[in-house]
């Protein structure tokens, strides 16, 4: 394990004990959730360069199904997570199969359209609570309901999921699949000429991405015990995944985590300083970040660091 990775792991493990307060634990949980969602998006959006702006559809399915199985059959919400993953996989195939046959922005457009259609549909469907949404168990019937009073258990559950996701992403990076993803992002025509099965590879990336995004949604709804169309399928959920990954560095292992480390505390700060009236600042913050990234640093902080690090190392020491 590299030193940087080790330091990061220790810092994340020790965080709740260094900042021993519910307020900071809540920020930590939000940060990890954003990192998981963005890292999941990163597999297809970052590595393969297939920019989905509708990943909230997988997040929303992941969030709704656990609370739905609880409401229908009184099962522990976590029991719905595998079903949510299965549904997300089906949806990924339905979107990926036709759009990945084409080059260009068809995939991005399809993801926005489908996510919005699902949000509107869910908002009017009484079976899933329509605009009001669904609630989880008010009081835990046992540990299996995963309803904890403290944020601390959620923090470590989320951390384990993030660690697994980063481990999987690292394995992807090193594999033929990972090389193929990067080649597709760099040039689809050239990749095909080298025998890369482009459509199949992109679809695999979307499936893997959908699995972890769905899991992120399930974690969210199990923790909050509540879900409605906006917090499950809202466009802001999708946009946040894109921005968090792009800020840190899309297509890099730790980019989404770095993005979350910056963006989530920044969001919390704006909300804390400006209270309820500051909620609109999130949109302004996202817009500003998109502008700055597009204009000055499309590769995100990772690219900036790659450029600056050699210069910093060359800086002569004072005599």
């Amino acid at each position: 394990m590299k030193t940087g990775t080790l330091v990061l792991a220790v810092a994340l493990l020790a965080y709740p004990f260094v900042l021993y307060d519910h307020f900071y634990w809540d920020i930590g949980v939000g940060l990890l959730l954003a990192a998981i969602s963005a890292s999941a998006w990163n597999i297809v959006g970052g590595y393969a360069g297939q920019v989905s702006v509708g990943h909230a559809m997988f997040f929303g399915i992941g969030a709704y199904v656990p609370l739905l199985v609880f409401n229908l059959w009184q099962l522990p919400p976590i029991a719905g997570a595998p079903l949510a993953v299965a549904l997300s996989l089906v949806l990924a195939v339905v979107i990926g199969l036709p759009t990945f046959r084409l080059r260009g922005h068809y995939f991005s457009m399809a993801t926005i359209a489908v996510a919005e259609l699902i949000r509107i549909f869910i908002g009017t469907w009484d079976f899933v609570g329509a605009a009001i949404g669904l609630q989880g168990p008010a009081v835990g019937r046992g540990w299996w309901d995963l309803t904890f009073r403290s944020e601390l258990p959620y923090y470590y559950i989320f951390l384990v999921v993030l660690a697994v996701l980063l481990y999987v992403t690292r394995a992807v990076e090193k594999s033929r699949f990972g090389y193929y993803l990067r080649a597709i992002k760099a040039g689809e025509r050239a990749a095909r000429s080298l025998g890369v099965p482009v459509q199949q590879t992109k679809l695999k990336a979307l499936l893997l991405s959908a699995v972890f995004t769905s899991i992120a949604g399930s974690l969210y709804s199990i923790k909050t015990g509540f879900i409605d169309p906006e917090s499950g399928f809202g466009i802001l959920i999708s946009v946040q995944m894109v921005i968090v990954a792009a800020l840190g560095g899309a297509g890099t292992l730790y980019g989404p985590l770095v993005g979350a480390l910056i963006l989530v505390p920044a969001q919390t700060a704006t909300n804390t300083w400006f209270g309820g009236g500051g909620s609109g600042l999130t949109y302004i913050l996202y817009g500003g970040i998109i502008l700055v990234l597009a204009r000055f640093e499309p590769g995100g902080l990772h690219e900036l660091w790659q450029r600056l690090a050699p210069r910093l190392r060359r800086t002569p020491r004072a005599a």
Binding site: Y179, A186, R189, A191, S193, L194, G195
Partner: protein
């Protein structure tokens, strides 16, 4: 017969970019496709590479019908191609670029790495192997494209102006590299404007003009044919003085 393109036609609406072009290629040959700009050689080349599906005719490679096969299927069958404008994977290192090609026949990472390393050494890119492709100049990029295709283990390589834009010294090195590749048993089809390359490397040339093959044969004989001279220079009117 390694490759047989029979009566290949490629039409875009009413415009025929290639009209009934045929080519028979034996294993181990090097042939050149020449002709003025817009003659149809690149379109014909793209049909051979699977980048375009011809609107007429048939292309057979090693006994298999490849007429409508995808570029991926062409690569798997053993047909590799370079691009007129190099399309290297800019953010990947040179070795990683070559590994993408190597993975086709070596699915395990360690094997692909080893194979790519050998190819990088053979193509003279060893010293830059760890650099990103974007750091290379034109000669390096052209060389990298060749290396990447070579890593797929092709039986037939299609080089699309792979030697254009090089200095005389770089050109000689590139010619030597193509010869080296040919010596390993790879058959080559070269689209090129530089006559030095055609005359030095190819055993046979096909001359395209306005979508048709107007001449074929040994390079030194073909370049003397009136139809070929007229294709390049236009129809001259000879006036004899009495």
């Amino acid at each position: 017969m390694l490759l047989e393109a029979d009566d290949v036609t490629m039409a875009f609406g009413s415009f025929r970019a290639v009209s009934g072009a045929s080519l028979a290629l034996d294993e181990g040959e090097i042939i050149g496709l020449i002709g003025p700009n817009g003659a149809g050689k690149s379109t014909f080349f793209n049909c051979l590479a699977g980048d375009m599906v011809p609107t007429g005719g048939r292309i057979v490679f090693a006994g298999a019908d490849m007429t409508r096969a995808s570029p991926e299927a062409h690569a798997r069958a053993g047909i590799g191609r370079t691009f007129q404008v190099p399309t290297t994977f800019e953010d990947m290192t040179i070795l990683e670029n070559v590994m993408v090609g190597a993975f086709l026949r070596h699915p395990r990472r360690a094997d692909a790495h080893e194979h790519a390393r050998r190819i990088v050494e053979m193509t003279g890119l060893k010293d830059q192997a760890g650099q990103r492709a974007r750091t290379l100049g034109t000669p390096g990029r052209k060389r990298l494209e060749i290396a990447r295709v070579l890593a797929t283990g092709p039986r037939l390589m299609l080089l699309d102006e792979a030697l254009a834009g090089l200095t005389p010294a770089e050109l000689q090195q590139a010619i030597a590299l193509v010869r080296q590749i040919h010596a390993t048993g790879v058959t080559l089809v070269i689209v090129e404007h530089i006559m030095e390359v055609i005359m030095t490397l190819t055993q046979r040339v096909l001359v395209f003009n306005q979508g048709h093959v107007i001449a074929s044969g040994k390079p030194d004989a073909v370049v003397k044919e009136t139809a070929v001279i007229e294709a390049y220079l236009g129809h001259g009117r000879r006036k004899r003085r009495p």
